[in-house]
């Protein structure tokens, strides 16, 4: 048997010598190929995070809105893709204006992006894959923003805001921090995978929306006390967190944008530690303070740990990753209480999970970043603990404040105009019936909801 095989292989190599002595691909091509595989997988993981958002948002809200909430995510991811392809990518990464000083603030060129079909010589990654990866981030940021719209915004508001956010809000922040010509990039702002760019941006748009939309009917009483509007499925919630958690490996470790010396593994490692810290501390703090261990808080804690470690996963030591996660879990608990107290209705806890934890994660670099890793990545410097210098802390603070202010102001203006021109909120009657019926004419849970209606 073995003999036969060797014999026939020998005969074949005589006939086709190229099989034995094919042209080896160059080291550069191999490198590019490996990078491509990893970043493409990462992009797919990040796109799969939308599945997490579908479950998170629908699980945290009521049955009567479930179909609407789930379905609109698919629609807005589609629309976001088209807008990012046509306009968003150009503003974020277009380099036609690289010579001009405007390029510090917005990019230009590559509208209706038409990339080369393969990587050019010397490129470490095909621009197609880079585009898909960046697009996936824009879509995540948008889905975060929907948290502030949940259960009361009109479908048309989702449509219009998808266009505005993807063209005018997200790509600008993305350009500032991640484009080589962006002004915050030049200052050395450290936001490895987007605690600020993706999460804080989404959260502040959600904040503007939830303030302009006002709380859902029945969320607050006249005396200022809050009512609990329970989500209809905690299992969806827990599954969503798991999906997002797994997707986050694409989000953070994929942001290495290559394989290189295997550094992306270190990023993944820190990501896992941060998430773990958040989940653990959130359950414990709710147990200690309220006397009962709260499941939604635990889920929020895991996500807050992930959000916080997103900026810092490549810049800090493992012990700091654990600490950043632990603090994020505690922070998200008190942040949710705070927003409730000031009567901001945040159905999916977007403001606390992505906003408060996003700010914390970005600032955490100012404290915990090490000089060694900052040098390795060639972004900014070490933080207070490693270097004793407050320099990086000020850069981080500046990027949070400036980016936050931009997103908040532009979101308020755009949503404010929308509110006046077209209205953001469904009628009271529609909100009570549920958006499944009012916006789509059919229920996500037909059997249960028909029964509920008959008993009205």
């Amino acid at each position: 048997m073995v003999k036969k095989l060797i014999l026939s292989l020998g005969a074949l190599s005589l006939l086709f010598p190229a099989m034995a002595f094919a042209d080896d691909p160059s080291a550069g091509t191999l490198n590019m190929g490996l990078n491509s595989i990893w970043v493409m997988i990462a992009a797919i993981l990040v796109i799969l995070m939308q599945g997490g958002f579908i479950l998170l948002e629908s699980g945290s809200t009521r049955m009567k809105n479930a179909g609407h909430i789930a379905g609109k995510t698919i629609f807005t991811v589609g629309l976001c893709t088209l807008v990012y392809w046509a306009v968003g990518y150009a503003i974020a990464f277009g380099s036609d204006n690289a010579e001009s000083s405007i390029s510090k603030f917005i990019g230009w060129g590559s509208y209706l992006f038409s990339p080369a079909v393969a990587a050019a010589d010397g490129e470490s990654l095909p621009s197609t894959i880079f585009f898909v990866f960046q697009l996936a981030f824009a879509a995540v940021s948008l889905s975060i923003a929907w948290g502030g719209f949940a259960e009361r915004a009109k479908l048309s508001a989702y449509l219009v805001f998808t266009i505005l956010f993807t063209a005018l809000i997200y790509p600008v922040i993305s350009h500032w921090i991640w484009s080589p010509s962006g002004w915050l990039f030049a200052e050395g702002a450290q936001d490895y995978a987007g605690s600020t760019v993706v999460h804080l941006t989404g959260a502040l748009a959600a904040f503007a929306a939830t303030v302009l939309l006002k709380p859902r009917i029945g969320r607050f009483n006249k005396d200022g006390s809050a009512n609990e509007i329970l989500g209809h499925n905690q299992v969806f919630g827990a599954l969503s967190v798991l999906i997002l958690w797994v997707g986050w490996f694409g989000f953070n470790a994929g942001s290495a944008l290559g394989v290189g010396d295997g550094f992306f593994g270190y990023v993944a490692f820190n990501t896992q530690l941060g998430a773990a810290g958040g989940a653990v501390s959130a359950l414990l703090i709710s147990w200690l303070v309220n006397g009962k261990a709260d499941i939604p808080t635990t889920l929020n804690g895991a996500l807050a740990g992930l959000v916080a470690i997103t900026a810092s996963c490549a810049f800090v030591d493992p012990w700091a990753a654990v600490l950043i996660g632990l603090i994020a879990g505690v922070l998200v608990f008190f942040s949710a209480k705070f927003f409730e107290k000031i009567k901001v209705d945040d159905p999916i806890y977007a403001l606390s999970v992505h906003g408060a934890a996003g700010v914390w994660g970005t600032l955490a670099n100012g404290i915990f970043a090490t000089e060694e890793l900052a040098t390795k990545l060639n972004v900014g410097r070490g933080g207070i603990i490693d270097t004793g210098s407050w320099h990086q802390m000020w850069v981080q603070l500046e990027s949070v404040l400036v980016c936050g202010a931009y997103v908040l102001v532009v979101s308020f203006i755009l949503l404010g105009i929308m509110k006046v021109v077209m209205g953001l909120r469904v009628t009271e009657e529609q909100e009570i019936i549920g958006l499944d019926l009012s916006e789509h004419g059919t229920f996500g849970y037909p059997e249960q909801m028909k029964k509920a209606q008959q008993s009205l």
Partner: protein, 356 residues
Amino acid sequence: MSDPVRAKLLSRIGKADDVVTLRSLRDQIHERMEALHAEQPAEQFYTDLNEVHDAFIRRAISLSEGQMARLGHGSPPVPYAYLLFGSGGRQEQTLSSDQDSGMIYGDPEEESELERVRDYFHTFGKMVVQTLERLGYPPCEGEVISANPFWCQSLTEWRAKLDGWFEEPGWEVVRYLLIVADSRLIYGENRLLQALKDHFFSDLLANPVIARHMLNNTMRHKVLIGVFGQLLKEQYGEDAGGLDLKYGAYIPMVNAIRLLSIQADIRETSTLTRIDRLYQQGVVSKEDHALYAHIFALFLRLRLMSTLKRDDGLYTNNGKLPRAKMTKELIDELKAGLKGVKKLRRFVQRQMTGRQ
């Protein structure tokens, strides 16, 4: 000490001939008691108030007996004991307590009489409950009530029922046993209740499975104080910021003291009296006796401050201490009291598990 207006009303309760008169007396006396409760110490107030409730319930039973006769059911065919359970049994009724009741009737001499006797008392139980409802006492939501045949049986049946419970002590059964532990005679023949209690205590103390279940049941409601010494208040809804005094303070303490008392073969039902007896029997120390009595008096006083409602003519409350009434001093008192309850619960835990 006794208020003359209350005394006068009390004597009128005993003479009232119909439910409408009784009801108007209850409304009057409630106004009077509400005015009094600011001036009196809680213990005295509860003694006076429960005397009033007892008088109303006795009169309602007696009127129902007469009504039975007028409807052609005749007079009670055998002696009976009308029992109060729950806060009524413990003489801790507030201005708005519900009915928790049961009946034991004597065994008829002839076996053939049993059916007729049973019919009489089932009808009678329903009638008393309805009468009391018209006086503004809502029936117990858990159906622990003399109108429910489960809680209205002959002495022999009761004994058999207890034997069945002792043989198969599950979670539900232990709840029943704890209910029976608080039973008190309000009307009728005391010997019937005594016979039942003899049966109850003789078998109960020897059964370690029941003791363990009772401990679990007793510890079920958490004391509303957190690890940082903070009060665990209501988070949501119209009671947000308030404290669930009934289930987070009062009931845990009642349960703990009741369990210690059962173990010590103490048959008194009022929690304060039980605390006294526990001290006399050497179960708790002098300091702890003073501490627990003080804390329980505090809870009794605060219970009078919980939100009152007049729901469909019934006097009810939700057992919650509203946020508006929680002053700084009161919060400090509550925290100290709840810490004492935690100490008591640790003591109960040690006592019960140490003995097994």
